[in-house]
């Protein structure tokens, strides 16, 4: 394993562990300002959207809005199942299967 990889893993461990550890260890006694609370509430939604949109709307760094965009089309059934179930497992499976079927249909 090369040095850069070890540093990356160590860094990722630290930035993941500290937010898990600090509040249960005692930060809970400090009352957070309401802006910070709100900000943290929105973080999951904003991060996931910032990751998702480029992944499905772009191809090779260019907007690709077309029925030929398999990622975009496969997102539709995935979104519907995710909306209905609000769970992790079934949308992922439906998404993967739709992706395979759509890519077979298009090619």
């Amino acid at each position: 394993m090369d040095k850069n990889f070890v540093i990356s893993v160590l860094g990722m461990f630290l930035v993941t562990y500290v937010p898990r550890f600090l509040p249960v260890f005692g930060l809970s006694r400090v009352e957070m300002p309401s802006f910070i609370k709100s900000f943290l509430e929105y973080i999951p939604v904003s991060v996931l959207s910032a990751l998702l949109f480029p992944a499905i709307f772009l191809k090779g760094n260019h907007l690709f809005i077309s029925y030929k965009n398999i990622f975009l089309i496969a997102s539709i059934p995935t979104l519907l199942v995710a909306y209905k179930s609000r769970k992790l497992f079934s949308p992922v499976i439906v998404g993967i299967i739709s992706y395979i079927l759509i890519s077979l249909a298009i090619n």
């Binding site: 394993m1 990356s8 550890f21 900000f39 999951p44 939604v45 904003s46 910032a50 998404g95 992706y99």
Partner: protein, 232 residues
């Protein structure tokens, strides 16, 4: 395994069952994707052992294989995993009755799934001690590590050209996690805003920095909207 329990106490082993079901396929998919993206089995498993955060690991694999620099990578993972801060804050009131010496170990195992399951249990029943957490957390963690190891082994045997739809596993997971988080028009608005901002910034900023910047701006605007509407 010998399990001693009082009658009304919540059982960590029983509660871990839905998590095991969820982690098996996703850990497996992560493992396959990892070795198919050119990482060794050891590297793929190392992420599961030390980072132990599903979506972050998928993201780390895609960032590392596209050659993103370490600082951007770690910043992105930090922002992506900042939600654990919320989980930890919420669990802290329930962990007050547990000896503090367990906290540094137990807190490592807080994930989307272990949080969701434990908070539901703890709200219903207060007959528990650290054993509940150790059982739930250890079984979930072991499942995650082992399923990613099996996936990684499987992936290293797979032919590179096989399309098993795994390219879409990550976007599908983003969609599923997003829909689990979204409630109310404000979050829908922040979601669309951050997503479009992320696309626009991709043209201006180098190497995946768009994700951190748009996530922070999006959540910041959400926080401001909340505060303004509270004041008026």
């Amino acid at each position: 395994m010998i399990v001693n329990e009082t009658k009304n106490s919540i059982n960590g082993i029983k509660s871990s069952f839905p998590i095991v079901l969820g982690y098996l396929p996703i850990g497996f998919a992560y493992g396959i994707l990892g070795t198919k993206s050119g990482f060794s089995i050891l590297q793929v498993v190392a992420l599961s052992l030390f980072v132990y955060a599903g979506s972050a690991q998928f993201i780390a694999i895609s960032l590392l294989s596209s050659g993103t620099n370490i600082i951007t990578l770690i910043m992105t993972i930090f922002i992506v995993n900042l939600r654990h801060f919320l989980y930890s804050t919420s669990l802290s009131q329930y962990m007050k009755k547990i000896n503090r010496k367990h906290i540094p170990i137990l807190s490592f195992f807080i994930t989307d799934e272990t949080y969701a399951v434990s908070i539901t249990d703890l709200k219903e029943n207060n007959e528990y001690n650290e054993k509940y957490f150790y059982q739930l957390f250890f079984i979930s963690y072991t499942t995650w590590v082992i399923s990613s190891f099996i996936g990684a082994m499987f992936g290293s045997f797979l032919n590179g050209s096989v399309n098993i739809g795994l390219d879409f596993a990550l976007p599908a997971m983003y969609i599923a996690l997003l829909l689990m988080q979204i409630s109310g028009y404000r979050k829908v608005f922040i979601s669309i805003f951050s997503g479009l901002l992320s696309i626009s910034l991709m043209y201006i900023l180098p190497g995946n920095i768009n994700v951190i910047v748009s996530a922070v701006i999006g959540a910041g605007i959400g926080g401001l909207i909340d505060i303004w509407t509270k004041i008026s």
